[in-house]
Amino acid sequence: MTVEQSIALAPAERANQLIGGELTEKSLRLHLEGLPGVDAVGLEARASDLGTRSIKTTSKAWALDRIIGLIDLTTLEGADTPGKVRSLVAKAMTPDPSDLSTPRVAAVCVYGDMVLHAVEALGAAGGPGGVQIAAVATAFPSGRAALPVKIADTKHAVAAGADEIDMVIDRGAFLSGRYGVVFDQIVAVKEACRRDDGTYAHLKVILETGELTTYDNVRRASWLAILAGGDFIKTSTGKVAPAATLPVTLLMLQVVNDWHRLTGEKIGVKPAGGIRTSKDAIKYLVTVAETVGEEWLRPSLFRFGASSLLNDVLLQRQKLTTGHYSGPDYVTVD
């Protein structure tokens, strides 16, 4: 078995309250490995059942507008430029120039060095209640960097004006059972999200479920991320297949629901990667509403990490307003 480490972990209020006593690697492992196993067949059956609901006409119109309001419009390419970020921000503010009643997206999601360009482009449209700026940090997407580098990465993005930080966990450490390492890193990054005025940037913890291999691991990682102080748990980076799937998102929502019942705290969920059509996105809305309740369908508690999804939603929206099918020539190329 693994070497017993009994060094005390970084203090995290939530974990102390829940696990109690002195928080150690051992007590954390006992807690996480003591979680009940996931009934994979039941989970997948439930998820596919939730995907069969028929959402039409006015419900569909509502759903489409809500989806737009929940999107983290994302560009995470090595080839990103300030110009690309500016056009992304323009699209976030005016998704459909032919119909100004289209709501704005929740946030734009960019690499840390692009945050200042996003801040500049957003101007007065940003800030509280406006379009948020999310930055990926901590050596995204692999997470393979030393902790001081990850902290510096995070601090830089926060200082540049990021409202939200999307961090990746160290999957290598998690899969080899070193939960304490992962825990400590999340706590440290959370601390790095602190601004000078004492407020915190929202912390989204990316579990990269495609690399966790089992549903049991997804459940453990979700608990771990929440215990360490994550405000959001996010499925994937979008760089690994499979990215977000409905069963995995359902499982994470169940953890969030359990946490809410236990502590009254509301944790957000963000499926990211692989959600490309309105039809898929509506399945997620149904799953959220039926698992944790409709109150989760707001940007502070649920997001879609997506880029091509927005165009498909706009096409569907145009179909509903004009009465005829629209085509890709009628939305922006990005």
Partner: protein, 284 residues
Amino acid sequence: MSRLTVLKTYKLYIGGTFPRSESGRVYEVATAKGAFLANAAKASRKDARDAVLAARAAVGGWSGATGYNRGQVLYRIAELLEGRRAQFVEELRQSEGISAAAAEKQVDAAIDVWVWYAGWADKYVQVAGNGNPVSGPYFNVSTPEPTGVVAVIAPQESSLLGLVSVVAPALVSGNAVIVVASERAPLAAISLSEVLATSDVPGGVVNILTGSPAEIAPWLASHADVNAIDLAGAGSLDWVDLQIAAAETLKRVLPPEDGVPLPSVERVTFFTETKTVWHPKGLI
């Protein structure tokens, strides 16, 4: 011992696969004398939408192939049609109530028309393109390029020859086609889709819908991702409304025709857009 006949399920042809209608509907196809012949899928507007998606995805590859290559692929279909002559003759005889001789004549004509159009694939550009005289040190060249996704309402009579006469010309230049087959006699169209599926035509380049043109045509005419519509077989529909709907999204529209359209290179060039390129002459 008597043997039960294995009846054929006639399905749609969308994106290189044979799905049933999304709506689950079928309608009865009868012989000319009114006896039951088969159940054919009755396509819905969502099938039409799926077909447009499949066609749009296929345009790039098909229009990007060289004219010579497209010509060879189309010619190969004629070869396969020749091999299936007996089946087409039988289906035409049953569904149109014509004599075996008339059916054979129609199949022959359809194959000949197909070959005729296939030959244009690497020639129409030379005929319709042009080097324009301009006053400046430039070459100025205009060439026809495929318009993209073409929706076609096939003629209601002569179900095979009519279909071939409207599908082939749109394909030649590199367009992807969605065709609504003859409502009364769709069997030949479905058999043609089996020929296409086993040929070298990429999936999605030809999509065949069976069902009611009156129901599907308005959705295709108003669809913003369809670039042109051929109303050849829409004479009995309210085709002026279809033209108006098509105009809203700037489509090219070919009006209805009586009977089967004759082979003409104009049908090929109609579904193209002219691209004009200026290129500086070397100042030697």
